[in-house]
């Protein structure tokens, strides 16, 4: 037990927790995206609703959900703690500090991109998760999706948040492997390729959903025209 605490209190221990929670969240994002692709099935959401019902009724998924919440909270809280802790290591600031010459924009802005993703997550859960899970009567998630994405402001915020998610993953994914000690000359090029897939394809896949529902979905157009 003492060893576990000592590990957590060490600087590397905290970073390992950041990377493990981060990778777990990336796995979740991949699953979430694959599931959400059912929205494109063009069957008025039948398969998507069935998939949603399966998730809600499956005890294994409900169990994993607890870890998902802990993972999100842990990653966010630890990220903020580390950020504050790191800021305190240099009480007298440099008059001139050209960090941008040496480090990528993505690596310098994880706290900002992470914070926006946090706000996004709150709004996202409020729109979809809470009504579909905690309402007294049955709510159609598909209808929630159609309604939410008919609002251009909501879509714009989504796209900005997803762009920032891509940026967050751009640094986070390779960083996680570095912290876990898995980056070396043999794997670096493979990991960089995998990182491209993660930080490009996941946000692009998610971005396709609001774009599709705003521009191309029939039900959405009727809502915009006020027929619905």
């Amino acid at each position: 037990m003492n060893n576990i605490f000592a590990f957590y209190y060490s600087s590397i221990g905290k970073k390992v927790l950041m990377s493990l929670t981060g990778l777990f969240l990336i796995i979740f994002l991949t699953e979430h995206l694959v599931g959400n692709l059912l929205l494109f099935a063009n069957d008025q959401g039948k398969m998507y609703e069935a998939y949603g019902d399966f998730l809600v009724s499956n005890p294994v998924i409900r169990f994993i959900e607890i870890f998902l919440f802990l993972g999100v909270l842990g990653h966010a809280i630890l990220g903020v703690i580390l950020w504050f802790k790191n800021r305190m290591t240099r009480p007298v600031k440099y008059k001139s500090f050209r960090l941008k010459d040496n480090a990528t924009l993505a690596s310098r802005t994880t706290i900002i991109t992470g914070s926006v993703i946090g706000i996004f997550l709150y709004i996202h859960l409020k729109t979809f998760f809470i009504p579909s899970r905690f309402s007294a009567e049955k709510v159609s998630t598909y209808e929630l999706v159609v309604k939410a994405f008919s609002n251009p402001w909501y879509d714009a915020f989504y796209l900005v948040a997803l762009f920032l998610l891509g940026y967050h993953l751009r640094h986070g994914f390779q960083s996680a492997f570095q912290t876990l000690g898995l980056r070396n000359k043999t794997y670096t090029s493979f990991l960089d390729l995998l990182a491209c897939i993660v930080w490009c394809l996941i946000p692009l896949g998610f971005a396709a959903i609001p774009i599709y529902f705003f521009f191309f979905h029939q039900a959405a157009s009727t809502v915009i025209m006020g027929v619905h």
Partner: protein, 246 residues
């Protein structure tokens, strides 16, 4: 060449310190940055003013004594160079140059541009060594070492402990320094007996000194005068995890 210098002046650790502006004239483009500071100091002594204190020793990029932030960059804007390697021709004539000491909690300013880097010494004392029996000199090649390992260990051992990694890091992390030292021993047979103990002790001391957490933005590698690679940091993380888990 002529320059305007904005240099951090601080009498001692307790002084709050401030920037002072100086003009230097007729500096040779081939002069090193430290030689330019020597000219300034001669000028200050002639005027009966306190010269600027800065660390230096070999002046050929191998001792790790000199080190300062020059226009916001550790050891200046060039790559793989210590402050003594910086030539004045890399600046433009009439340029204003801001010179500051390394800034990090574990590196308190002693005077002007000199910082106390004994935190690095204490990290080394915690585990940056091998325990060997004294006695006769062992036969050459009696301990085989893979060529790749020998080369990588040598790359890590090139670290001169100047502290630029800490100075250039937004979190004042000493991971590149500790990683270089841990790697150097972990790759060689002589480092094996104390391998697990070493990495844990050195990381514990690094944390105790108050260095920040690595956020993998690799500014350290970019500013390291010896070009120590961040793959050593991955090795340090690996060594630490393995030592803790096994």
């Amino acid at each position: 060449m002529n320059f305007t210098l904005k240099i951090w002046r601080q009498k001692n650790q307790n002084d709050t310190g401030k920037f002072e502006t100086y003009e230097v004239r007729s500096i040779s483009p081939d002069a090193s940055f430290l030689e330019m500071l020597d000219v300034l100091n001669n000028q200050l002594v002639m005027e009966d003013r306190e010269p600027v204190a800065f660390d230096h020793d070999c002046r050929e990029g191998i001792c790790g004594s000199c080190g300062m932030m020059i226009n916001g960059r550790a050891h200046g804007k060039g790559r793989k160079q210590a402050t003594c390697d910086v030539r004045m021709r890399s600046f433009t004539d009439g340029q204003t140059i801001t010179v500051e000491p390394w800034r990090a909690n574990p590196f308190p300013v002693i005077k002007d541009l000199i910082v106390d880097r004994t935190a690095f010494d204490r990290i080394m004392q915690a585990g940056g060594f091998i325990s060997v029996r004294t006695g006769g000199v062992p036969d050459a090649n009696s301990t085989p070492v893979r060529k790749e390992n020998a080369e990588e260990a040598m790359d890590a051992a090139a670290c001169i402990g100047c502290g630029a990694c800490v100075a250039a890091c937004p979190n004042s992390s000493a991971m590149l320094f500790v990683a270089a030292k841990v790697s150097q021993f972990a790759l060689l047979p002589q480092g094996q007996p104390e391998r697990k103990e070493r990495v844990q002790k050195m990381v514990a001391q690094m944390d105790k000194e108050g260095f920040g957490n690595c956020s993998n933005n690799y500014a350290c590698e970019a500013e390291c005068p010896k070009g120590i690679s961040v793959t050593h940091i991955a090795r340090l993380n690996r060594e630490f995890l393995l030592a803790k888990l096994t």
